[in-house]
C-alpha cells in the first residue's frame, strides 16, 4: 500500500522472474513472498495473523462475536489517532498532546450543548473544530516559533489537560440528552468506532500514498531542504498534519465518551497517544520521517489490541503486558530499520 518507494502492482506483475527464485508453482510462491516482503505492512500483517491463530488456539473465546467487538473497540481509537500521528511522523514531527485533545473534546461538546444551548450536531462539529484549532496551535508553535514539536505538544498537552480539569472540576459529566441521537453514529453502536476507523484508514492511506498532499508529506519528512527547494510549502504540510491529528484526537474523544456513555476526565491522556505511536512504529512508520503507512499503523494498533485482549483471555496478568509491548516495539523498530536498509540496497528485489 505504501506507494512512495514501493513497486506498483502493475510493475511487479510485469517483472521478469527474480533470479534465484526459480519457476513453477513453488517459484511463484517465492515471488509472491518477495513482493510481500517489499510492502512495509508485510511484517506486521504476518505478526497479526500469527497472533490471531495463537490466541484462537489458546482460547476459543478469542474469535467470538463479543470478543471481536471488544478487540475492535480497543483497536479503533488507537488506529484513528495513529492516522494523524503517521502523517506527523512521516513529515518529521510528533504530537504528544493528542490524548488531551481526546480528553477535552467531549467536555467542550458538553459545555456548548448544556451551558450555551448550541444544537448537538453543531456542538459536535465545533468540538472537532476545537481539535483542529489545537492542532493549528501546535503547528504554529512548531513551525512559526521553531520549538521542537516534542516540547511544543508536551506544553500544549499540559495546558489542555489543565483546562479540562479546571473547567470540569475533575468530575465526570453525563452525555447531553440532545447528543444521544448523533452519538449512536459516532460511537455508541457496537461497530461504530471500527467502522469509522476502517473508513478513515482507507481514505487517509489513499491520501498518503496516492495524492500530492501525501507525496509532499513524504518529501518534507525525507528531505526538508530538498522539498523546500523543489517549491513545496513545508509549513503548510506540517500545519495540515498537526490539524489532522487534532481532528482525530477530538473525534476519538467523543467516540469514547459516547461508547462509555460518560464524559470522563480520566480518559485520554498519554496512553492512547503512546499506543498510537507504538502502533504506527510497529506498522512500519519511520520515527525519523520520510516513510510510513496508515494501513500498517492500523495493523499495529490491531496487534497491540490483540495482545491486550488475548493475554487477558488466557489469564495472563496485565503486569507483564508492558514487557511484551516494549519488546514488540523494539523488535518492530529493529526489523523496520534492517528491512529499510535492505530495501535501499535493493537486496529484497
Amino acid at each position: 500500500m505504501s506507494e512512495t518507494a514501493e513497486r506498483a502492482p502493475e510493475d511487479v506483475a510485469a517483472l521478469p522472474p527474480t533470479p534465484g527464485l526459480g519457476g513453477g508453482p513453488w517459484g511463484a510462491v517465492k515471488r509472491a513472498a518477495a513482493v510481500l516482503a517489499q510492502q512495509r505492512e508485510a511484517t506486521v500483517f504476518v505478526v497479526a495473523v500469527l497472533l490471531v491463530i495463537y490466541f484462537w488456539r489458546a482460547s476459543p473465546a478469542f474469535l467470538t462475536k463479543d470478543n471481536i467487538i471488544n478487540i475492535s473497540q480497543i483497536t479503533a481509537p488507537v488506529a484513528i489517532i495513529a492516522i494523524g500521528e503517521v502523517f506527523l511522523l512521516v513529515c518529521g514531527e510528533i504530537d504528544l498532546s493528542v490524548g488531551f485533545i481526546f480528553a477535552f473534546s467531549p467536555f467542550f461538546m458538553h459545555y456548548l450543548i448544556d451551558y450555551y444551548g448550541v444544537p448537538a450536531v453543531l456542538a459536535v462539529l465545533l468540538s472537532l473544530l476545537m481539535g483542529v484549532a489545537a492542532g493549528f496551535v501546535n503547528g504554529f508553535i512548531t513551525v512559526a516559533l521553531r520549538v521542537p514539536s516534542f516540547i511544543a505538544t508536551l506544553g500544549t498537552g499540559f495546558i489542555l489537560w489543565g483546562l479540562m480539569l479546571t473547567t470540569s472540576n475533575a468530575y465526570p459529566a453525563n452525555i447531553p440528552d440532545k447528543a444521544q441521537g448523533i452519538g449512536h453514529w459516532i460511537g455508541t453502536y457496537a461497530w461504530a468506532e471500527i467502522t469509522w476507523a476502517i473508513v478513515l484508514v482507507i481514505i487517509f492511506q489513499i491520501a498518503l500514498s496516492r495524492t500530492r498532499w501525501g507525496l509532499h508529506t513524504v518529501a518534507v519528512g525525507g528531505n526538508i531542504l530538498g522539498a523546500s527547494e523543489a517549491g513545496i510549502n513545508v509549513a503548510r504540510i506540517k500545519y495540515t498534519a498537526f490539524m489532522l491529528t487534532g481532528f482525530m484526537g477530538a473525534l476519538v474523544g467523543m467516540q469514547e465518551a459516547f461508547r462509555t456513555n460518560s464524559i470522563d476526565p480520566s480518559s485520554g491522556g498519554y496512553t492512547p497517544m503512546f499506543y498510537a505511536i507504538a502502533g504506527a512504529v510497529i506498522g512500519g512508520t519511520a520515527l525519523a520521517g520520510g516513510s510510513g503507512t496508515i494501513v500498517g499503523a492500523f495493523l499495529g494498533a490491531f496487534v497491540l489490541s490483540a495482545l491486550t485482549d488475548g493475554f487477558n483471555l488466557i489469564g495472563i496478568s496485565a503486569n507483564p503486558l508492558n514487557i511484551i509491548f516494549g519488546a514488540a516495539i523494539l523488535v518492530a523498530m529493529i526489523a523496520n530499520v534492517q528491512l529499510s536498509r535492505l530495501r535501499r540496497a535493493g537486496r529484497t528485489t
Binding site: 518507494a5 506498483a8 507525496l215 530538498g226 527547494e229 523543489a230 517549491g231 520520510g290 540496497a345 535493493g346
Partner: protein, 276 residues
C-alpha cells in the same frame, strides 16, 4: 581587485552602461544585486547577464556567494537590493514556484531529491500529473521513462527509490527534471561536484545536447576551471560578492583564471600579515 571591463567579445556583452548591445540579447539580466545575512555580506553588487542559448560559467572560491546568487535567481530567497530582468522586463521572484512559472529552473548542489521517493515521483515533484484527486502515477511513470531514455540515462526501472542510484544518475535525474519543466533559464549549482569521470561525462553530454538545441540559457556554477571553459560559452568570476571577470571561454584559459585567484590569495595573505 578592481572589476575589469568586460572584454566586449561576449555574445551579449557586460553590465548596462558598458555594452549597450548586450541589453537587447540578454534573456536574464541581473543588476546591482546585494544580499546580507546578519553581519555577513554575501553579495555586494552583482551585475551579470546570459543570452539566449548561451552557457555562462559562474566561477569563484568557496564562500564567494555563488550559491547565494543562484538561490536568489531561482526565487528561493529575495535579494536585499537590485533587480532582475527577464527578457528585458523586471520581475519579482517571490518563490521557487513563481520563478519556475516565469521559466527559471534550478538544479541545486544538493539536488533536492527525496531518497524515499521513486525516480518518477522525484522527476515530477511539485509538478505532479494528477487525475483529480489522485496522482496519475501511470502517466508519470511512462513519461519519466521516455524522458530518461531520450537523454540517454539507462535506468532499469523508474520505480526504484532514488537512494539506490549512483551520484551521476541522481544528478542526471535532477537535471532532467529541470530541463523538462519548459525552463528558459536553467541554473546548475556545481553539477559535477564529487562525481567520477564517467558520471561527469554523462552530465557534460546532457549539457552539450541542451546547448546544441540553443533554446535554453544555462548558468553553471563550477569549481573546475577546465571543465567550465570546455562546456561554457562565457566565464564570469565571482569574488567577494562581485563579478570581477567576464570573458568568452575561447578568450581565456585555466592559467589566466588560476593567476587571478592566486593573486587574490596573495593579496589576502599580505593583508593578514599587515594586520597581525
Amino acid at each position: 581587485m578592481t572589476a575589469p571591463e568586460p572584454d566586449g567579445l561576449s555574445p551579449v556583452g557586460g553590465p548596462p552602461g558598458t555594452d549597450p548591445q548586450a541589453a537587447d540579447g540578454a534573456v536574464l539580466r541581473v543588476e546591482h544585486i546585494a544580499k546580507r545575512f546578519g553581519a555577513v555580506t554575501a553579495l555586494v553588487d552583482i551585475n551579470l547577464h546570459v543570452g539566449r542559448g548561451e552557457v555562462l560559467g559562474l566561477l569563484g572560491d568557496n564562500g564567494a556567494g555563488k550559491s547565494t546568487l543562484l538561490k536568489i535567481l531561482c526565487g528561493f530567497q529575495p535579494p536585499d537590493t537590485g533587480r532582475i530582468l527577464l527578457n528585458g522586463e523586471e520581475v519579482q521572484l517571490k518563490s521557487v514556484d513563481n520563478a519556475r512559472a516565469l521559466g527559471i529552473d534550478v538544479v541545486y548542489q544538493d539536488l533536492a531529491l527525496i531518497d524515499e521517493l521513486t525516480v518518477y515521483h522525484n522527476m515530477f515533484l511539485k509538478r505532479e500529473m494528477v487525475r483529480w484527486p489522485l496522482l496519475n502515477n501511470r502517466a508519470m511513470r511512462r513519461i519519466a521513462r521516455e524522458r530518461l531514455d531520450a537523454i540517454g540515462i539507462g535506468l532499469p526501472s523508474v520505480d526504484v527509490p532514488v537512494a539506490r542510484l549512483s551520484g551521476g544518475q541522481r544528478q542526471a535525474i535532477a537535471v532532467a527534471r529541470a530541463v523538462y519543466s519548459d525552463a528558459k533559464v536553467l541554473l546548475l549549482d556545481e553539477p559535477l561536484a564529487a562525481m567520477g569521470a564517467k558520471e561527469a561525462a554523462l552530465i557534460l553530454d546532457l549539457i552539450r545536447d541542451l546547448k546544441q538545441k540553443g533554446d535554453i540559457s544555462i548558468i553553471i556554477v563550477a569549481h573546475n576551471y577546465g571543465q567550465a571553459i570546455e562546456i561554457c560559452d562565457r566565464i564570469n568570476l565571482l569574488q567577494h560578492g562581485e563579478i570581477t571577470f567576464d570573458k568568452l571561454s575561447k578568450n581565456t584559459s585555466v592559467q589566466e583564471l588560476n593567476d587571478i585567484v592566486i593573486e587574490e590569495y596573495r593579496r589576502a595573505l599580505l593583508e593578514r600579515q599587515r594586520s597581525a
